[in-house]
């Protein structure tokens, strides 16, 4: 990857005194079995990890997400093959969401992974495999992307999976290869008290194209706290096209943290679809970084919270080159006593002229006790730009409800129809029936359990 202009990123680390910390250790075997490069990367990440404390609400990025109820000392990393004694994967999670079949599938589990890839894709040079296999067989490709998109120093929860990730995926598509069949990965995380650390790496060479769907899920109720910390590093080469769909379906006991970023080279494009319905607490950083002239990206987010869920999504659209385009639309609905935070920033670097940047966040608050915070932001250091943003937090319009009631539609269904309509602009951006169906089911189930 060529040198990129310096980016201004909100500070995500922590320097305060350590009150309480995780009980993880840097596993020596994790380093001895891997390449020198990966070992050095992990050792460095571990040092960074040890120097950072768990963030507190005193830090700007964490101001709205309080971790004081997290019990970090209790989490354990899964042992090898532990998945064999835990809940099995629900069959529906293994089904393709993007059509009839997969081009490949990687299933990440507690202490293990399973990979299937169409031999035709292997013959074309496509790599789609779990991280430990990639460490053995493809160290040179890992070197291109690991630590090149997200730095471990960006935060405690970036450094942690960087140092210790047991679950990971490498997707590599060589120059000019257009993968027709979508690829799919699933991180399945049962087992109360476990910590799942994941690292997803995607590298698309020039003129490559692929659709990649990743889902993280666990059983709905398990009581004890569980941790997920994830890193997602995506690189889209010149004129390459990545369609990246991620679904967050963690169970009710999961504390979920992730640092995700895509770098897009000249005339490359990413279509990023994001759906979040699970977890107890989530803090997610998702950054679109347009580094090459003519690059573009679209981010479409769907979230629906209920009970006491707390989902905090922090997005950046960094325009680092001229003639770049970004378009973000995040829409969320809230029930119960849940809370959502969306904080978004469009950053335009000096000299990044002739850019279009758009961001909108819309929230529908369905219960008295729920709350949505929506904080848009612009930081423009170039002269010739077109940027716009919008943020709304609203409630269901009672005139709409009465209108639907007057047509014989019962109250619960009327509200559901209005909520579905609210999310329609997001659905319109998703070309996969399976993914849309997932979101529809989430709306249906959340509305139903709320009314019941």
């Amino acid at each position: 990857m060529t040198a990129m202009p310096q980016v201004v990123i909100r500070k995500k680390g922590s320097q305060g005194p350590i009150a309480q910390d995780f009980a993880f250790h840097l596993d020596g075997t994790n380093l001895s079995k891997t390449s020198e490069f990966v070992a050095a990367y992990r050792q460095n990440a571990w040092k960074v990890y040890e120097s950072l404390s768990i963030p507190t609400t005193k830090e700007e990025a964490w101001r709205r997400t309080d971790l004081s109820n997290l019990n970090p000392g209790n989490f354990k990393l899964p042992e090898v093959d532990q998945y064999k004694s835990l809940d099995k994967i629900p069959e529906k999670l293994l089904q393709p969401l993007t059509g009839e079949t997969h081009g490949g599938q990687v299933v990440l589990m507690a202490g293990g992974a399973k990979t299937i890839l169409d031999p035709a894709l292997t013959a074309q040079g496509v790599i789609f495999t779990d991280l430990s296999t990639a460490e053995k067989n493809h160290p040179d490709i890992l070197k291109k992307v690991m630590g090149k998109v997200v730095q471990p120093s960006e935060g405690k929860f970036a450094a942690l999976p960087a140092a210790l990730a047991q679950n990971g995926v490498l997707l590599y598509v060589p120059r000019g290869v257009v993968v027709e069949q979508p690829v799919h990965s699933l991180l399945w995380g049962p087992g109360a008290g476990l910590a799942y650390l994941s690292h997803i790496l995607v590298y698309l060479e020039e003129d490559a194209a692929v659709t990649y769907v990743h889902e993280a899920a666990s059983p709905t109720q398990e009581g004890e706290q569980k941790l997920h910390a994830g890193l997602v590093e995506l690189y889209v080469g010149p004129r390459a096209q990545l369609r990246w769909v991620e679904l967050q379906s963690w169970g009710e006991n999961v504390w979920n943290f992730s640092h995700e970023r895509v770098k897009v080279a000249e005339d490359g494009n990413i279509d990023w679809v994001f759906g979040a319905v699970g977890s107890h607490v989530t803090k997610n950083f998702s950054d679109l970084e347009l580094t090459g002239s003519g690059s573009s990206g679209r981010m479409s987010g769907f979230y629906f919270t209920d009970r006491d869920q707390h989902l905090d999504h922090d997005t950046q659209q960094n325009h680092l080159a001229p003639h770049t385009t970004s378009d973000l639309l995040f829409k969320g609905a809230l029930l119960g006593k849940s809370r959502s935070v969306w904080q978004g920033m469009i950053y335009v670097a000096p000299g990044a002229d002739k850019i279009d940047g758009f961001q909108a966040n819309r929230n529908l608050v369905l219960s008295e006790g729920a709350r949505a915070d929506s904080i848009p932001g612009l930081e423009i250091l170039a002269d010739d730009v077109r940027c716009s943003h919008g943020a709304t937090v609203g409630r269901i319009d009672q005139d709409q409800v009465f209108y639907l009631l007057s047509r014989g539609i019962p109250g619960i269904e009327a509200e559901r129809l209005i909520v579905e309509g609210f999310f329609d602009p997001i659905m319109q951006r998703i070309p996969f029936e399976g993914v849309r169906q997932r979101f529809q089911n989430a709306i249906h189930n959340k509305m139903e359990s709320y009314q019941g």
């Binding site: 005139d399 709409q400 009465f402 009631l405 269904e413 129809l417 209005i418």
Partner: protein, 258 residues
């Protein structure tokens, strides 16, 4: 043959009495026009019959199919066979006309049989196309978001399409003529006439006589001060057009003061 019987109806909004003892019976197949100056309680009556929560009924009954519908929620009233064509139809962004109507039809079917699986999509499409053809509506209309960005005429036609699809026994049309040009008025009126051939009782609420050139009422009532003060045949509407409401106001007010 069902009939809607309104007896001694009193309605408050925000503590103020708007309708003060209204009596009216509408049978299936009859067209009743209610006319009157602005602010006399016409729309209040319409919303109250449909069950809008902002209107408080302080006295009276409205009996339909042996039930006092005032005890029922709006959706129950609708499923029982009452329909209100809104003066200002509400936009529901993101919900298509087709999706909305299918949901409404299925709610009706499930009210009869909780096990009902809903109307099949091909069957529904066929039904909707038939109704749209009668109203001379472009089939693309079904895919548009309900009332979202509709012109005044489109909104009113969408109301009549809903009425045609849901097949009520009593239809209340609240100022359906307002905001329509002559062509739109003609099309909407034809739609109502097609539907009201025998099975539907229509309560047509209007400020102007104009729509009555297209939809012929069997009965015309004048509402003033929250009561029906004059009833007659179609000639009463013509009379009102020639002479305005003043003569009734004088008669009514004199009647009260004497």
């Amino acid at each position: 043959m069902s009939e809607l019987v309104i007896q001694n109806l009193h309605i408050n909004i925000g503590g103020k009495e708007i309708v003060k003892g209204l009596n009216l019976t509408i049978r299936q197949g009859e067209v009743h026009a209610i006319m009157g100056p602005n602010g006399t309680g016409k729309s209040t009556l319409a919303y109250t019959l449909m069950g809008h929560p902002a209107y408080e009924v302080t006295a009276g009954t409205v009996i339909f199919k042996e039930r006092n519908i005032l005890d029922m929620t709006a959706d129950e009233r609708s499923r029982l066979g009452i329909f209100l064509a809104f003066q200002y139809p509400v936009a529901i962004p993101g919900v298509t006309v087709a999706n909305f109507l299918r949901t409404a039809l299925n709610a009706r079917r499930r009210a009869v049989n909780p096990e009902d699986k809903g109307i099949s999509i091909p069957e529904f499409r066929k039904l909707l196309k038939k109704e749209m053809d009668i109203l001379r509506m472009d089939h693309a209309f079904a895919g548009r978001y309900l009332n979202d960005g509709f012109s005044g005429g489109e909104k009113k036609r969408a109301e009549i399409l809903q009425m045609a699809t849901l097949k009520p026994e009593i239809a209340i049309l609240d100022e359906t003529d307002s905001g329509l040009d002559i062509d739109a008025l003609r099309i909407v009126s034809e739609g109502v006439n097609t539907l009201s051939g025998g099975d539907v009782g229509v309560l047509l609420i209007t400020h102007y006589q104009r729509i009555l050139n297209y939809i012929k009422p069997d009965f015309v009532h004048v509402i003033m001060g929250g009561k029906i003060v004059e009833s007659g045949g179609p000639d009463l509407a013509l009379h009102l057009e020639e002479r305005g409401y003043e003569w009734i106001r004088e008669k009514y007010e004199n009647g009260i003061t004497v």
